[in-house]
């Protein structure tokens, strides 16, 4: 009696979990198909030469997406340079160094930071950070790639902190004890044992942080100035740029369905999708390889 009941329960639960698992694959596939269907006509509608030119002014049929890709990349790059040291540093501090009470306060605070709506950060950016950067660096305007990158860094930090901290926590206590027993200092233990053991988790955290920065829209749209200039000069860091996400968000609302402009916006969506796919693939490749090697060492 009891046995059949539990088998049936087992079956039901497995069934639901299976459905949930497959449905997420299905959703991603459907989204990608939809993007392809709406975005690929841009290739014929606008033409490759127009698409990969450097002028973006869609109302007059200039559909050059090079400045937009460049804008997204430079802003994301700055975000990572900002978020990487702060994110991993904070994670190491919370997991390895901070006393219990500090840890109890810091962890929820980081989670609150993660929950802040990006539009709120955008407001802070436009009213506080941008004017401050203009004065500090003596710039023509504070609405620049750098401002956007710093803001995105702030947005990416909580993601990096919480995932790296989980990875560090998952490192067995015996590793640390063994290291200390061998006479290593606390710093040597962190740098030589704990962080390398948690490497794959930390890399995943960084990759997710990059993905978060690349996909962020609202805050970026508010503080980068949205000027479609190709950022190739050194001072481009401190000049306005226009990102792919901000372009889609600000132009999709008014565009006529099935016009060339509409298809080009979806084409930008395809590029964004492929970029974050590439980031995820790289992340899983790295963590997969790491695991195999560490397993080899342990065995």
């Amino acid at each position: 009696m009891l046995r059949t009941k539990s088998t049936r329960g087992n079956f039901l639960i497995t069934f639901f979990i299976k459905i949930a698992g497959y449905s997420s694959i299905l959703f991603v596939a459907l989204i990608f198909l939809f993007l392809l269907r709406e975005g690929l006509p841009a290739l014929t509608g606008a033409g490759l030469k127009n698409l990969f030119s450097t002028t973006w002014y869609p109302t007059e049929n200039y559909f050059g997406i090079v400045p937009l890709i460049g804008g997204s990349l430079i802003v994301t790059l700055i975000a990572i340079v900002v978020a990487l040291p702060f994110g991993i540093g904070t994670a190491i501090f919370i997991s390895e160094i901070a006393p219990r009470t500090v840890k109890e306060i810091l962890k929820p605070l980081i989670e609150i930071l993660a929950g802040l709506p990006s539009v709120v950060l955008g407001f802070i950016g436009i009213l506080v950070i941008a004017p401050a950067f203009r004065r500090i660096f003596n710039l023509p305007t504070g609405l620049t790639a750098f401002t956007g990158g710093v803001l995105l860094g702030l947005i990416a930090i909580p993601t990096i902190v919480s995932i790296s901290e989980d990875a560090l926590n998952a490192v067995p206590q015996s590793y640390r004890e063994a290291s200390i027993a061998l006479g290593a200092t606390r710093w040597q233990t962190i740098w030589g044992v704990t962080v390398p053991s948690a490497r794959s988790g930390i890399i995943t955290a960084v990759m997710l942080g990059i993905g978060r920065a690349l996909g962020e829209t609202m805050a970026v749209m508010m503080v980068t100035g949205n000027a479609p200039v190709v950022p190739i000069k050194i001072n481009s860091l401190f000049l306005p740029v226009r990102t792919m996400t901000a372009t889609i968000a600000s132009e999709m609302g008014e565009v006529a369905t099935n016009s060339v402009h509409y298809h080009v916006l979806f084409f930008i969506g395809i590029i964004l999708f492929l970029l974050s796919l590439a980031i995820n693939i790289v992340a899983s490749l790295i963590s997969y390889r790491r695991k195999k090697r560490s397993e080899r060492i342990l065995s």
Binding site: I126, A130, P131, G225, P240, E251
Partner: protein, 292 residues
């Protein structure tokens, strides 16, 4: 994506409301209103407010551009066409061939103020100088104001805004049909009026433009002249109403012949202080002087 969803939901909700209203009340009437994208928010606000006072009035508002609205008026599918320009001679001829005289009613005015930071000593500009700034030909304030050596940061609304398009036509292209110039890529495109106001208020290098109704006292309005020989005019409700300020235009509603019945009542309400108060809220200039 989310926005598209919202739009479709709003559309279906609107559609079902119209249907149920139709079933319960037989005295309902419909007014079809179509045209200028610049005016579409204004027309929607009027339609909603009017529907609040007269629930039996079902006013459908669509955009598509002034030309689309006028074409629809000519072939009789709408009662009122919104236009941010006057009808062309051939459109009037077509109307007369169709057996009616289109009547133009000025329902509001649209003026674009040029603004700079309060620390900027600049007082006045010609339209040609403004065009050079936005085409990226003038990049330092010292070319316009002696001794004010600062880079120019030109701000614009996003290209989907009607204000952007009007500014492109009248200022950047100086109202010339042959001129195909566009904004320089270095022009910052800000998503909101608030963004432009915040940046101009804070940044002594910035210049921006926006609908007169959005301008607050935190920034400095610039006097503009048509050309070097004309007078420089500061935009305010007076200079916009008497037509002296060069970057302003009338916004029209066109009807098939003299408006009559429910259409007449609706337009009279739009011209009333109540209707014109909505004009102010949306950043346009009302046609009743002293109402601003």
């Amino acid at each position: 994506m989310a926005l598209l969803f919202l739009l479709t939901c709003a559309a279906c909700a609107g559609g079902s409301a119209t249907q149920s209203g139709n079933q319960t009340q037989s005295s309902n009437y419909y007014i079809q209103n179509k045209g200028s994208d610049t005016m579409v928010n204004l027309a929607l606000a009027w339609a909603e407010a009017y529907n609040g006072i007269h629930p039996e009035a079902q006013i459908s508002v669509t955009g598509g551009g002034s030309g689309t609205g006028i074409a629809a008026l000519l072939n009789g599918t709408v009662d009122i066409a919104n236009a941010s320009r006057e009808m062309k001679a051939e459109e009037i001829q077509q109307a007369q061939a169709a057996g009616f005289t289109p009547i133009a009613i000025v329902v509001a005015k649209d003026a674009i103020a040029i603004i700079v930071n309060k620390d900027n000593p600049l007082e006045q500009l010609t339209l040609a100088q403004l065009a050079s700034i936005y085409k990226g030909e003038i990049t330092n304030w010292s070319e316009l104001v002696v001794g004010y050596d600062h880079p120019i940061v030109a701000l614009s609304r996003e290209s989907n805004s009607g204000t952007h398009v009007y500014f492109l036509e009248v200022v950047v292209r100086l109202s010339s049909k042959e001129d195909k110039s566009i904004f320089a890529p270095t022009v910052l495109l800000l998503p909101s009026s608030e963004g432009i106001m915040a940046e101009v208020k804070d940044n002594p290098n910035a210049i921006g433009y926006d609908g007169l109704g959005y301008i607050t006292g935190d920034v400095k309005k610039i006097a503009v002249s048509k050309d070097i020989d004309s007078e420089y005019v500061i935009p305010n409700s007076e200079t916009v109403l008497n037509g002296e300020y060069p970057i302003s235009r009338d916004l029209y509603m066109y009807t098939r012949g003299e408006p009559a019945g429910v259409v007449k009542q609706y337009i009279e309400w739009i011209l009333s202080p109540e209707g014109q108060a909505i004009v102010v809220n949306l950043g346009f200039v009302p046609i009743i002087s002293g109402n601003k």
